[in-house]
Structure formats: C-alpha cells, structure tokens
C-alpha cells in the first residue's frame, strides 16, 4: 500500500525505506528558508520504492536551497524525484540532487528531474543533479531545465485570442499540471492547483 507524505517544505530529515515499502512524498512549497536543507532518502529495504514530487512557488526574496540525497543500497529499489519550480520577483531556488547507486543495488531504477520556470528579471536558479553509479544493472537518468515561458507556445495561445496574462497563466498551470497525474489523492491535487492560482494572482504580469 502506498503511503503519502504531504509536506509544505523540504525538511532536514532522513527517511529509511524498509523492504517492499512504497512511499509517495508530495511537497507544496511556497515559503522559503535560510540555509540549506538536507533530505536523505535511503532505500535500504529490498524492493522499496519512493517517489518525490515537489512543487516550489517562489515570490518576493524567498530562497529555496536544498540537497536531496537518494541512496540505493539494496536490490531492486527505486527512488524517483521530480521537482518543478516557478520563480518570480527576486526568489531563487538551488537544488543539488545527490543520487547514488551502491554496488549491491542491482536492478535499481532511478530518476531525478528539476525543471524551473523563471518569471521575472530578478529570479535565479541553480540545479546540480549528481549521479554516482557503482554497478551496471541499473536504469538511471536525470533531466533539468531552466528557462522562461516558451515563446512559440505563448504565441500559439495568443493567436487564439487569449490575453498575454491569460496565456502565461495557462502555461504556468500547465507546467505544474504535468506532474499531478502521478498523484492519486484529489484533495492534494486541488490544494496544489489552488496554490498555483494564488501564486499567479500575486505575479505582476
């Protein structure tokens, strides 16, 4: 049975997964912090799976600085993290993903992604998806991107009569919506959608 952990921040915490444990961690993060948070997920139990989906909405001068460590130390484990951040005003987000697959972690299936939308002149992002692999029978990948709203897609929406504000709002919502499919809980999904709407209302554009 999949357990869901719903967080409003990236905490300093160590999570150790037991054999066959399945965990979904969802983070809806709108308040920043000072310093670096360290989140450690250690898949010690054979066959354990953990999925982390983090939504970061940055305004004012909020800073979101975290190191997420994923350790695969048993066979057939999975740790997958997908982070999406939208930053406006002077907010900044820095995520280091320290993923390691130990020698005894054959059959590991792992993934890390961090995609950032920069919505204002003062926003900035840093992403460092690190990966250390010590055995060959693995599936591993990571992907990251940083950028502003895609101009071609924006023009497409504008050409259908939407105002620039409506079009941008749609794209930002769409940016987060893609990750919601993996979350089974409707209540959590709606909380996230509402938070994005509130965030967009605060964004000057």
């Amino acid at each position: 049975m999949k357990k869901i952990l719903f967080l409003d921040t990236i905490p300093d915490k160590t999570i150790i997964l037991k054999e066959d444990e399945e965990l979904l961690v969802v983070g809806l993060i709108t308040t920043g912090w000072s310093g670096i948070r360290n989140l450690i997920i250690n898949a010690k139990g054979r066959g354990s799976h953990c999925q982390c989906i983090f939504f970061i909405l940055g305004t004012d001068s909020s800073s979101f600085d975290a190191k997420i460590q994923a350790i695969h130390s048993a066979p057939k484990t999975q740790i997958k993290a997908r982070i999406r951040s939208a930053l406006t005003d002077k907010s900044s987000c820095s995520v280091e993903g320290a993923w390691s697959i130990e020698k005894n972690a054959s059959g590991a299936d792992t993934y890390f992604s961090h995609h950032t939308l920069l919505l204002s002149q003062g926003a900035s992002a840093k992403t460092a998806p690190f990966l250390e692999i010590k055995t060959d029978d693995v599936k591993a990948g990571h992907s990251a991107s940083v950028g502003k709203v895609d101009e071609d897609a924006l023009f497409y929406l504008l050409s259908r009569g939407l105002s620039e504000q409506q079009a941008r709002a749609m794209m930002v919502q769409g940016f987060f919506e893609t990750e919601l499919a993996a979350i089974d809980d409707e209540e959590i999904k709606n909380k996230i959608r509402e938070a994005v709407t509130t965030f967009l209302a605060q964004t000057k554009n």
């Binding site: 101009e151 023009f155 929406l157 504008l158 009569g161 105002s163 409506q166 919506e177």
Partner: protein
C-alpha cells in the same frame, strides 16, 4: 462584421534576412484563396506575419481589415478582431487540456467582440465541441488531453480546423493544412472546412506546396509565390498550367 482584408506591398524580415519582398493581396469574406509555391518562397512567413508572430519584423507595407490597421495590433487583438492562423507545426502545450483552453479562448473573443451571447458554460461547450470533433472524426478523449500532446501529424492538422470551427473567425489562414494527412483524412478535413466556411461566410487563405489540394478545395483565386512576392494569380487556367508545366513555368520571366 468585417468584409475585406487588404494586404498591400507587405515586406518583412527575420533578423537581417528579408523574406517578404512586397506582397499584395485582397480577399473578401466568403472567398477562398490558395497560395502555392515552392519551399522557401515565403508562403508560411506571410501567414505568420499576418498573425503578428514577434519573430518577424515588418519593414514595409500595410494590412487593413476593412479600415482597421492590423499591423499595429498584438496577436491577441488580431484574434479578437476575427483573424485565425492554422499553424504548419502546431505547438504542443503540456499540461493545458484542449477543451478548457478552447472554451476560455472562445469566451475571451466573444467578450472582446461585445457579442450578445453570454459566456458558454463548460457542459454546453463540451457538448458542442464533441459534435464538432465528431464531424472531423477526432477521438473525443482528445478534449481532455494536453494541446497537441501525442497527436500525430494528421491529428494536429485536424485539431487546427477544429479550433477554427469553434472560434468562428472572419478570416482564417491555414498553413499547409494538407500536409501529414492521408487521402481519407484530407477528404474529411476538406469537407468540414468547406462546410464551416460556407456556414460562417469566412474568408480563407490556404497555403500549400502540393497541387493535389486543388482536388479537394475549389478556390476563387490561386496565387503563386516566389522569392517573397506573388508572381502570378488567376483562376482555373493556373491550375491547368501547374498540372502541365509545374511551378517552374511561373518563375521563368
């Protein structure tokens, strides 16, 4: 509702490269014009410029919708004035469901045009959309899919025609609407296109580089474009010349 679109000596460039070198064309509501020409002649650029794609800079000429200048308007405003562009490579917009997006666009355009019809609610809109999708043989589940995500080339083109049918523009520009469609799909799209065009009295400018489109759509005027200019225009006699001698025959001067 606007009656005419007048394009006069339109010139445009991308970066330092000039692509449109003085295009002139007049079209009235209810007419169908087809622009043909080889790849690189500037046909697609013309349509992008008519819709106001910021990638291109207009360096001369004018575009008037009746007495209203279009070149000074943003893409949003041009759409709200009743212009529509069916893209050659429709964008994938992840996370934005097609149905929701179309409803929002429809209501925004209606309110901008100060239409007397009230905003359409989700349920009646969905019903209407399903009916339009049926006419084009588009899988109804696409309504809740992200815009163009996972659509085949042909499905993307059908989706453009669908959007045109829903948004009811006065003048629609369709870029290579026939590419990526097999014969059956082309028949369906052409049939629906004609039906919608007649019903709404739309003016249509269709761009294609493949003469076979003339089997399915009967235009009032055919224009041949080359090197950013219209080099020939006419009616059926042009069709016969293309069939007999190909495009090249228009380029020898």
């Amino acid at each position: 509702m606007a009656k005419t679109l007048k394009i006069e000596n339109l010139q445009a460039a991308i970066g330092k490269t000039k692509i449109l070198n003085g295009v002139s064309l007049d079209i009235s509501r209810g007419e169908i014009h087809i622009i043909m020409g080889q790849n690189g002649s500037g046909k697609s650029t013309l349509l992008s410029v008519l819709m106001g794609n910021p990638k291109y800079t207009v360096t001369g000429g004018s575009v008037m919708l009746d007495k209203k200048d279009m070149l000074g308007l943003s893409p949003t405003q041009r759409a709200q004035n009743g212009l529509f562009l069916g893209f050659q490579h429709p964008q994938v917009v992840t996370g934005v469901p097609l149905g929701n997006f179309l409803r929002l666009a429809k209501n925004t355009i209606s309110s901008a045009q100060k239409s007397k019809t009230p905003a359409i609610g989700p349920a009646p809109f969905a019903a209407n959309l399903r009916a339009e999708m049926e006419k084009l043989k588009i899988d109804p589940t696409f309504m809740s899919r992200s815009i163009n995500e996972g659509f085949s080339g042909g499905e993307k083109k059908k989706s453009e025609v669908l959007q045109m049918a829903v948004l009811e523009p006065v003048f629609a520009f369709l870029d290579e609407i026939d590419s990526g469609l097999d014969i059956d799909a082309l028949k369906i799209v052409a049939k629906q296109l004609s039906a919608v065009q007649k019903k709404q009295g739309m003016g249509l400018i269709i761009v294609s580089h493949n003469p076979r489109i003339l089997d399915f759509i009967k235009p009032d005027t055919i224009h041949i474009m080359s090197k950013g200019k219209i080099v020939a225009r006419g009616g059926k006699e042009i069709v016969k010349k293309i069939e007999k001698d190909g495009f090249d025959s228009f380029l020898k001067k």
